[in-house]
């Protein structure tokens, strides 16, 4: 044992140069690695901060030490503590001549600083210098930094050099220069608008890596302006063809797929270019079809490409053959055992369902399984699909499901999203007023404070305006049922504020309208609301105004307004409120109560919330007064714009721009004037929801419905005094300007397959038939009647309903047998795949996905595997100790010498050309043997054969052991092979 320690120490000292890490550093890493709690970690880091503060302040610190300190600083910040005291040293290190130090400096700076940090200015000069370096690695390091640190103001300082580097002889430099330009485009599109053509040029770069990188900026550019790049369709198709035909170097292969990441990017681009463009799409059909045929779907990456193909197919002009292939792929995805595949299947289904709605129906049971899966991710994806396929026949089921789910989650972000979707669907497809109001009540009750305030106003307006064009009875029925439901719900505790506002407003406006409830009853309830929410001024304001309305309607109707004592005291209280708004409202109510019927009728007419009020904006009634004043010598009014000498806003803007220019840093005087494109919307994808024009109807963005530009409301001109709803969509009840037909009848939309009753009978009969076939094949898969019912209500029965519709009674049995057959076939297919599957390990997280027979049975608990690994590592320690105490020590040393020898020989993996596949099979072999714990010497030799750094890894081992970090130590996880 002692001897081993000595050896370790020797190794440690000998490696100082190459390994370059001090005992102190190793100690730090060790202690961080072995901490068990966040508190402990925090203590270590705080101590480290103190150490670093004193160390860094020492001006005589050698450079290699400084590099280490920087990395320790990285740790400080990575673990969540402020390291700003050391930023300046990172900046200093970028000035270093040594490449490694320089790059470490740049790395630290990019991790520490955002592009607007004050210290950046100290680096720009260095970057400029480094971009001119003869050493291309220095140039690359600088370009990396350019991508992270250069902001809009500093772009001009480096732009000319970056452009120059686009033609550099080294492909690595060209690639990074392209990305730097891409970054400038992201930051300030205007600054590089004249350089866009460079991206096109680089697309035909001789190096595939540069070409692949160029696809990134091109993707962004095409996203913003498709039409400018239609001419590139053929080039992209050709590139994709070459990739698929394996013309790219082997090193781009991944899992035997030729450059899959490039393929995916190209397919994305083609999807954009072919969207709604038949001619462009026709160029793509062959190659996309080829890819779908060619690549196996046994590997993850193969499926990733396949999925991207489906996305592309659903985006471009539809092609029946490709759609069929896509549908096949989707059914494969959905039948897979892997949740990842199912997820993609559901997503793909959502994309395709817009083009061919019948596809979803084929997979109804799979969809329902996903909907009921405990996996939240899958569930949400399925809700997204349902949202896309909602129509008036299934809206009730879908929205009710969504609401049930919404009630049970805590994640506010998603709750908001699903609530607004519920509202949207309810507004669009509601089958009845009753249902609509109930749905809205539920949504408001559970997510009222999360939904947009607009939604509340929208609801009030819907109830106020009514739905029927001229059907007043329907409208008043709706209002009555709303009042009814609100009176029912009002007593519940913890109602969200937005919902209470709606309730108060509706009760005030329509509470007494149908004569069912007395004014005193309604006003009593309103008082209760105000008292129960005494801290919410807005609710109180709504309640008081509602009270005022109730009284004025009473007075206008010729009755005496009896103000209940509690109402009186409420008003009294509000008269002295701290809120001026509440005070004003209280005084108004008080005043109204004292007026006569005629006056009140004029102030507060019954059910007039939708009436127009004319407002004289020019205040012409004051003209006489002004005339008088001017005659008395007053100055005539000069408008604000005239006063400041500006006539329009653009003028103002340009001045602002000018000002910002003056404040900004200038590196080269007045060379690159800002082009007029400057205020262009940057292609930040996050804000895509804000981009209103959705050019393609199929491209599934989540905001599909909401982003559709709505024609403005017909009576928009008179919106002044109504609820402020300008720009709010209104879809329900006005077929005149809502694209999908909202009516509940069955014959209006081609999507709706057939009548409800028919559908039900056929649907259930059919699914029974399926049931039988399922039973015979796979008894454990039982489809509960609930699921069948759900399927029927969601999908409206199986497809091919058109034919059935004609004479259902005769055709039902036929169809039954047909579909039974079909499901039979399907089932056989799945059971086959299941059989195949079991012979192969499932794709789990730890699986390498290598087809070479992995020895570990797939069903093995991964934790157990890890334990096995643990034992093994302990074995190796015991072996080492044995070696140390015995006479084997020289052997180990010689082994080490061997290794260093072969290490040198192996240093360039390019020349030895050991590709990943062989390496990995090596790994699995090693793991294999280790797992059986045969002996550890093979493991060492195994280490020899892979990686170029086995010398390092052995040193690391020895060194680390010396520090006391051992696999049997506190945190053995640190030693586990990630790819083990």
């Amino acid at each position: 044992m002692e001897q081993l320690k000595t050896i370790g120490r020797e190794l440690a000292m000998g490696s100082q140069g190459g390994f370059g890490q001090s005992k102190e550093f190793l100690d730090l890493i060790k202690s961080i690695g072995e901490t068990r709690s966040k508190n402990e970690e925090d203590r270590i880091v705080l101590r480290e901060i103190e150490t670093l503060k004193t160390r860094l302040a020492n001006p005589n610190t050698p450079k290699f030490k400084l590099k280490e300190y920087l990395i320790r600083l990285l740790y400080v910040e990575m673990l969540g503590h402020d390291a700003s005291f050391g930023y300046i040293y990172a900046v200093k290190m970028t000035h270093d001549e040594n490449l490694l130090f320089k790059r470490t400096g740049y790395l630290a700076v990019t991790l520490f600083l955002n592009e607007d940090h004050d210290l950046i200015i100290l680096i720009v000069n260095t970057i400029q210098k480094d971009l001119r370096s003869d050493n291309y690695l220095v140039v690359c390091a600088a370009l990396n930094a350019v991508c992270r640190l250069i902001n809009e103001e500093t772009i001009p300082a480096v732009l000319p050099q970056v452009v120059e580097l686009l033609g550099h002889q080294k492909e690595a430099v060209r690639k990074k220069a392209v990305m730097a330009l891409h970054r400038f485009y992201q930051r300030a599109p205007g600054s590089v608008s004249h350089l866009i053509s460079n991206f096109r040029k680089r697309l035909s770069d001789s190096d595939p890596g540069v070409m692949g990188a160029t696809l990134c900026p091109l993707f962004d550019l095409i996203t913003t302006d498709v039409n400018a790049y239609k001419d590139l369709v053929i080039s992209f198709v050709n590139i994709l063809k070459q990739v698929v035909e394996r013309r790219l170097p082997k090193s781009f292969d991944y899992r035997q797929m030729p450059a899959p990441f490039i393929q995916i990017k190209l397919l994305k681009i083609l999807g954009l270019l072919g969207n709604g463009d038949k001619k462009a799409s026709e160029h793509m059909y062959t190659i996309v079809g080829d890819i779908m045929r060619k690549f196996d779907s046994t590997s993850n990456i193969g499926n990733a490409v396949l999925y991207e193909c489906i996305c592309c197919i659903s985006s471009i002009h539809p092609n029946p053959k490709l759609l069929e292939a896509a549908a096949d792929a989707i059914s494969k995805f959905l039948k897979s055992d892997s949740h990842n595949m199912k997820y993609l299947g559901i997503d793909a289904l959502g994309r395709l369902t817009k083009i061919s709605p019948e596809i979803a129906e084929q997979h109804q049971l799979a969809v329902i399984d996903c909907l009921e899966d405990p996996d939240d991710t899958l569930k949400r994806k399925t809700f997204e699909l349902l949202y896309k396929m909602t129509k008036s026949s299934n809206v009730e089921v879908i929205v009710n499901r969504m609401i049930d789910y919404m009630i049970n989650i805590n994640d506010n972000h998603y709750k908001t999203e699903i609530a607004s979707r519920c509202i949207e669907l309810a507004e669009q497809f509601a089958p009845s007023n009753q249902w609509f109001i109930q749905t809205m009540n539920k949504v408001f009750e559970h997510a009222g404070d999360l939904v947009n305030a607009k939604v509340a106003h929208n609801l009030m307006r819907l109830i106020a305006e009514g739905f029927g064009e001229d059907d007043d009875t329907a409208d008043s029925q709706l209002r009555s049922s709303a009042v009814e439901s609100y009176l029912h719900i009002i007593g519940e505790p913890k109602l969200p504020s937005a919902f209470l506002q709606v309730i108060c407003w509706i009760l005030g406006e329509y509470g007494t309208a149908d004569g069912k409830y007395s004014a005193s009853y309604i006003s009593g309830r309103l008082c209760d609301v105000a008292e129960a929410h005494s801290t919410d001024d807005i609710v109180k304001a709504y309640a008081v105004t509602a009270l005022g309305k109730i009284y004025s309607f009473e007075i206008a109707a010729g009755r005496k307004a009896e103000v209940l004592p509690e109402c009186e005291s409420l008003i009294e209280e509000l008269l002295a409120s701290h809120s001026t708004d509440l005070q004003q409202r209280a005084y108004e109510v008080q005043a109204i109560v004292g007026l006569d019927a005629h006056a009140v009728e004029n102030i507060m007419p019954m059910d007039a919330s939708c009436e127009d009020i004319e407002i004289d904006k020019s205040l012409s009634f004051l003209n006489g007064y002004i005339q008088q004043a001017i005659e008395k010598g007053a100055q005539p009014y000069v408008s604000e714009s005239e006063r400041s000498g500006m006539s329009n806003i653009s003028n103002f803007k340009s001045q602002e721009q000018h000002e910002s220019l003056m404040h900004s840093l200038r590196f080269e005087a007045y060379e690159l004037p800002k082009s007029s494109m400057a205020p262009h919307v940057p292609p930040v994808l996050a804000s895509s929801t804000e981009l209103v024009p959705v050019p393609n109807p199929y491209n599934h963005t989540e905001v599909h419905y909401s982003a559709t530009p709505m024609p403005s409301v017909s009576n928009a001109g008179s919106s002044e005094l109504k609820l402020r709803l300008d720009g709010v969509q209104k879809k329900w009840g006005r077929p005149s300007y809502s694209s999908p037909a909202p009516s509940t009848s069955n014959n209006d939309a081609p999507k709706i397959q057939n009548g409800t009753t028919q559908r039900d009978s056929v649907g259930s009969a059919n699914s029974k038939a399926r049931d039988v076939s399922y039973d015979s094949r796979k008894p454990q898969v039982e489809i509960s009647p609930e699921k069948q019912k759900l399927a029927a209500s969601l999908f409206g029965g199986p497809s091919k309903s058109d034919r059935r519709q004609s004479s259902s009674s005769q055709k039902v049995p036929k169809n039954n047998s047909h579909s039974a057959n079909k499901s039979h076939v399907e089932k056989t297919a799945t059971s086959d795949t299941v059989a195949v599957k079991t012979s192969q390990p499932p794709q789990d997280l730890l699986d390498l996905g290598e087809p070479t027979g992995t020895s570990i049975p797939p069903s093995l608990d991964p934790f157990k595997q890890l334990e096995g690994l643990l034992d093994l590592t302990q074995d190796s320690t015991t072996l080492n100790t044995g070696g140390g105490s015995g006479t084997d020590a020289p052997d180990i040393m010689s082994l080490y010498a061997d290794m260093s020898l072969s290490g040198q020989g192996n240093e360039n993996p390019l020349s030895t050309g050991n590709d990943s596949a062989s390496l990995l099979s090596g790994f699995s072999d090693a793991a294999n043997r280790n797992g059986h714990g045969v002996n550890t010497v093979p493991q060492l030799t195994q280490q020899l054969s892979k990686g170029q750094n086995h010398k390092d890894s052995l040193e690391k081992d020895a060194l680390v052991r010396q520090m006391g970090v051992t696999p049997s130590g506190q945190n053995p996880n640190l030693f586990k092979d990630l790819l083990g």
Binding site: L26, I29, T35, I71, E77, M78, L79, G80, D82, L99, T104, L107, N114, E115, L137, N144, C147, M179, H182, Q186, G209, F252, Y254, A259, P260, F261, I264, K268, N300, I301, N303, H339, N340, D375, T377, Y414, L685, A686, D844, L845, G849, P862, L866, N908, P909, S916, L919, F923, Q943, K946, G947, Q948, N949, D952, K956, N973, L974, F975, L978, L979
Partner: protein, 143 residues
């Protein structure tokens, strides 16, 4: 933008590597890392390797005790990102030989250098292992 961040966090929730492609403050990062690790730890191996979190989609993969988490936006191909993670691990494995958590801790900067070669501006720009590793090897040789 595609990739918004790449994180390596171990089972105890300790960050081992963090690279953000958009600026977040220290507090935001800390909170985000804590939340998503908790979310991912709560999931079992059968469930999807994808989780939605705020406006991110997290694609994660576990190797031994280390989670690799990549935050992407909505337009990204999740399965491809999952394979990208594996490519990253393979690349590190080729460099370090039997890469383990400790390797990444001891050579944090190298792990970052590899990532710098593979991802720029949140886009995957290089997937050839030899192209990724050659600058790092050349740099090691030089110093």
């Amino acid at each position: 933008m595609g990739i918004r961040f790449v994180l390596m966090v171990n089972k105890q929730g300790q960050t081992r590597l963090a690279q953000y492609y958009e600026y977040l403050t220290l507090e935001e990062r800390r909170a985000l890392e804590g939340e998503i690790v908790r979310k991912c730890l709560a999931r079992n191996e059968q469930q999807c390797s994808f989780v939605e979190h705020r406006n991110y989609k997290i694609v994660y993969r576990r190797y031994a005790s280390l989670f690799f988490l990549v935050g992407v936006d909505n337009e990204e191909n999740e399965l491809a990102i999952l394979e990208f993670i594996h490519l990253l691990v393979e690349t590190m494995d080729r460099h370090f030989g039997n890469v383990c958590e400790l390797d990444i801790m001891f050579h944090l900067e190298k792990a970052h250098f590899m990532l710098e070669e593979m991802v720029m501006n949140g886009c995957i720009v290089e997937t050839s292992k030899s192209n990724i590793l050659s600058p790092i090897q050349l740099m090691e040789k030089a110093s």
